[in-house]
């Protein structure tokens, strides 16, 4: 029997909160994090709506608990904050005999500083500390160094499915016997670079995004970082950790259709979801909720919607996109939404798809419109699809712990 993979901790920072408690609270109160750009110096500032983390660079440095801050990108700081929370939650500071890895995902890397200092890079030595922090590995190595993780360290970049692929690789590394536990996730900060890139592709909505709505008009970009602690069954015996839930399945497939567009029938999405489902050994009817990729673009929502209809047909589970809360956090979306999915199992809730009004003509279903709190949630699927057709789907399942009284954790309706 292959090892089962459990989630034993998580940490998250996003536009709806600086830690998991704040994120949960915003979700329970249907409080989105979208607003005007404050921390990126761009002409698009007053034009676009984004899910930006409220902190300045200096505020992030202090939240991250760093002394010497030269050479830290916004991306690395977000990563450190979320990774530290997950590290503490999963008790990774203990049991050093267990083999522990860090698998992180990003696409922008240290671009926020590089685009700011590019002219200096070209002409003088004043910003040399940021030259090495340009690439994708930099934030990963800074997190590894601060947390003392060294058994395995790598970085994945598959555009908007990056962090989901980091979680998937973590699970496979554990299952192969190479690691006992893994801190897996991703970080992505807003940059002028990709705000302009997405803007040039004309897929940004200037209003709050409306995934799966007939009148949806595109994406609101977002930023953040999120990491989960994945632990093997045998690791649990050593750490004594109580699993929060199980990672029961994962699937990765490629659309092989177009560099930026999804196929009309969602073949990549279907193959990824189907692979995750068949690995979990569950029937389609067992899925209670799908946290969809649901970017709010014309193209994605038709493609993903059709793939969902094909996979689930008469057993369509509840579906929503949480991107109207956080914005589309691109390379980090996979781990942010994985944690939002885990929160559904933990607190027995299903998140609403904000801003939805009218069902898409192409689809036979509508997303969840209100927060659901009275429905049993045992299995959740989380979808992340990226440019290039890199599609990944993860399935999280509730576990019945021996000491569990089987009543869900109480809702923390904090202000």
């Amino acid at each position: 029997m292959p090892q089962r993979i459990f989630i034993t901790g998580y940490g998250i920072i996003s536009s709806i909160g600086h830690n998991s408690g704040e994120n949960l609270s915003s979700l329970l109160q249907s409080r989105p994090g979208l607003g005007r750009i404050r921390h990126v110096d761009t002409l698009l500032k007053d034009e676009l709506l984004v899910g930006e983390v409220s902190c300045t660079h200096d505020e992030l440095i202090s939240l991250a608990g760093i002394d010497a801050a030269d050479g830290y990108s916004r991306n690395a700081l977000l990563g450190i904050i979320a990774a530290r929370e997950a590290f503490a939650h999963g008790g990774l500071d203990k049991h050093h005999d267990l083999k522990t890895g860090l698998i992180s995902a990003t696409t922008v890397g240290g671009m926020d500083r590089s685009e700011r200092y590019y002219l200096d890079f070209l002409s003088n030595n004043s910003r040399n500390a940021y030259i090495d922090s340009y690439d994708c590995a930099d934030s990963t190595e800074k997190i590894a160094r601060l947390l003392g993780i060294h058994d395995f360290v790598t970085t994945i970049s598959t555009a908007c499915s990056s962090a989901a692929n980091a979680i998937m690789l973590g699970a496979r590394m554990i299952r192969s016997g190479r690691l006992d536990r893994v801190l897996a996730g991703g970080c992505e900060s807003l940059t002028k670079f990709h705000l302009n890139g997405f803007n040039a592709l004309k897929i940004l909505d200037k209003e709050p995004c409306k995934p799966f709505d007939q009148h949806r008009a595109g994406i609101n970009l977002g930023e953040g970082a999120a990491y989960l602690v994945l632990e093997s069954e045998s690791g649990l015996a050593v750490t004594g950790n109580t699993p929060i839930c199980e990672l029961a399945g994962w699937g990765n497939a490629c659309e092989a259709f177009h560099q930026t567009a999804s196929s009309p029938d969602g073949i990549g999405a279907y193959l990824a979801m189907n692979a995750a489902l068949s690995m979990s050994g569950l029937e389609p009817a067992a899925i209670d909720y799908v946290n969809a990729h649901g970017t709010g673009t014309d193209n994605n929502d038709v493609s993903e919607g059709r793939a969902l209809e094909r996979l689930f047909s008469k057993n369509m589970p509840r579906v929503s996109s949480t991107k109207p809360f956080t914005g589309h956090t691109t390379s980090c979306a996979g781990s942010i939404e994985a944690i939002l999915s885990v929160l559904c199992l933990e607190h027995q809730v299903i998140w609403p798809n904000l801003n939805f009004k009218e069902q898409m003509h192409e689809l036979s279903f509508s997303p969840v419109e209100e927060l659901l709190t009275t429905i049993p949630v045992n299995v959740v699927m989380s979808n992340s699809f990226g440019f290039g057709g890199n599609d990944t789907s993860l399935i999280f399942r509730k576990v019945n712990n021996n000491n569990d009284t089987s009543s869900p954790a109480p809702l923390l309706l904090r202000e």
Binding site: L44, V153, S157, R172, K192, G197, A253, G388
Partner: protein
């Protein structure tokens, strides 16, 4: 374990237009080594090719060369590694947004995404299977190999296409020269060993490998194992790690016939390689390859091409030799590569000629 059943490689050597193994070594005196690119019309529709960046063309062409040699038409997985992705496209955008933020052409943005090559290869092949991209300095290619080896172990694949792509531009060279990464002046690649100054000679390349669970008529060698070691605050010692890594693969240090070292001409980094080879593998012959391809994050791809060819052809060309010691046989090669004494990686290759 996997068999190397096909290779397609574009490098500063004549690797794309000739199947002869380093018979006509290219000598350069340059700031960095540049790839010798093939005529792309053989590999890519000229209409498509016109919109593609140089890196993308190099990636697709080397993937196609590799597929053709292996005879595999549809891989079970496509996995790539790149340290920096498309530097040229990224610079284009940076140049634009620092001047004028409007009316950006979306093509460089699309191509600047790191997974562009792995997904483009999938699009060209209509391949829906597993697809991923690693972007971790000198762990990029090694992580990609490790992922592929796990695919075979999991029985989710019977083969995988593993690729590396990295490019250099004069602009990027000048920026990274500021942090001491490169030599400050043009050097001769074939006398790189004698320069003895800080900084490496930069280079670039694209290399794809078709790895199979089964041997085929085009098999070069066996990829036995791969390891990445992150040196956290100086805690990593190759002398402690290596014996266990070899033993896991049924080998003793004395079984290694050639240590293929990532020596790159940087006098502050190269002693680590020499100490490693002299102390741990006193009986092995020492060889190197970065004077032929230059230093870049995925240069181990060129190293694997070299090792696979040594084993297939049963000859170690003079140009690769670092020590006078002649290997008694050509059976086991260990590639050792490190970046700034932080990212250490090991690739173990075994000949399968008997």
């Amino acid at each position: 374990m996997a068999f190397i059943n096909g290779i397609g490689i574009i490098s500063p050597q004549r690797t794309a237009d000739s199947t002869a193994f380093l018979s006509d070594v290219m000598e350069y005196t340059a700031d960095y080594l540049t790839c010798i690119e093939p005529a792309y019309r053989t590999f890519i529709d000229p209409l498509q090719s016109r919109r593609m960046s140089r890196l993308m063309k190099m990636g697709i062409a080397s993937a196609k060369l590799c597929m053709a040699e292996s005879g595999v038409e549809m891989p079970d997985a496509i996995i790539t590694g790149t340290g920096l992705g498309s530097v040229e496209d990224t610079e284009k955008i940076l140049g634009e947004i620092t001047k004028e933020e409007r009316f950006l052409n979306p093509t460089p943005f699309i191509q600047s995404t790191y997974n562009t090559i792995s997904s483009q290869v999938a699009i060209q092949l209509k391949c829906h299977s597993y697809n991923s991209t690693y972007v971790h300095r000198t762990f990029s290619f090694e992580s990609c190999l490790l992922d592929g080896l796990m695919q075979l172990e999991e029985k989710s694949a019977t083969n995988f296409l593993a690729g590396t792509i990295d490019e250099m531009t004069m602009n990027h060279l000048q920026i990274t020269r500021r942090v001491g990464q490169w030599k400050m002046e043009p050097v001769n690649n074939l006398s790189l060993k004698d320069v003895k100054t800080p900084g490496a000679l930069a280079g670039e390349g694209a290399a794809f490998f078709m790895m199979g669970a089964e041997r085929s008529s085009s098999t070069y060698a066996e990829l036995t194992d791969v390891a990445t070691c992150y040196n956290l605050n100086g805690s990593f010692a190759s002398a402690e790690f290596l014996p266990g890594f070899l033993a896991k693969n049924g080998l003793y240090p004395a079984d290694i016939d050639i240590v293929l070292l990532g020596v790159n001409g940087d006098c502050s980094n190269d002693p680590i390689y020499m100490q490693f080879a002299d102390q741990l593998f006193p009986a092995a012959a020492q060889a190197w390859f970065k004077h032929l391809c230059g230093e870049y994050h995925t240069a181990a791809g060129f190293g694997l091409y070299v090792a696979a060819n040594i084993l297939k052809n049963q000859v170690c060309p003079e140009v690769l030799k670092l020590s006078a010691k002649k290997p008694v046989r050509l059976k086991n090669i260990l590639i050792y590569n490190h970046f700034r004494n932080i990212n250490h990686s090991f690739i173990l290759i075994r000949g399968c000629y008997e």
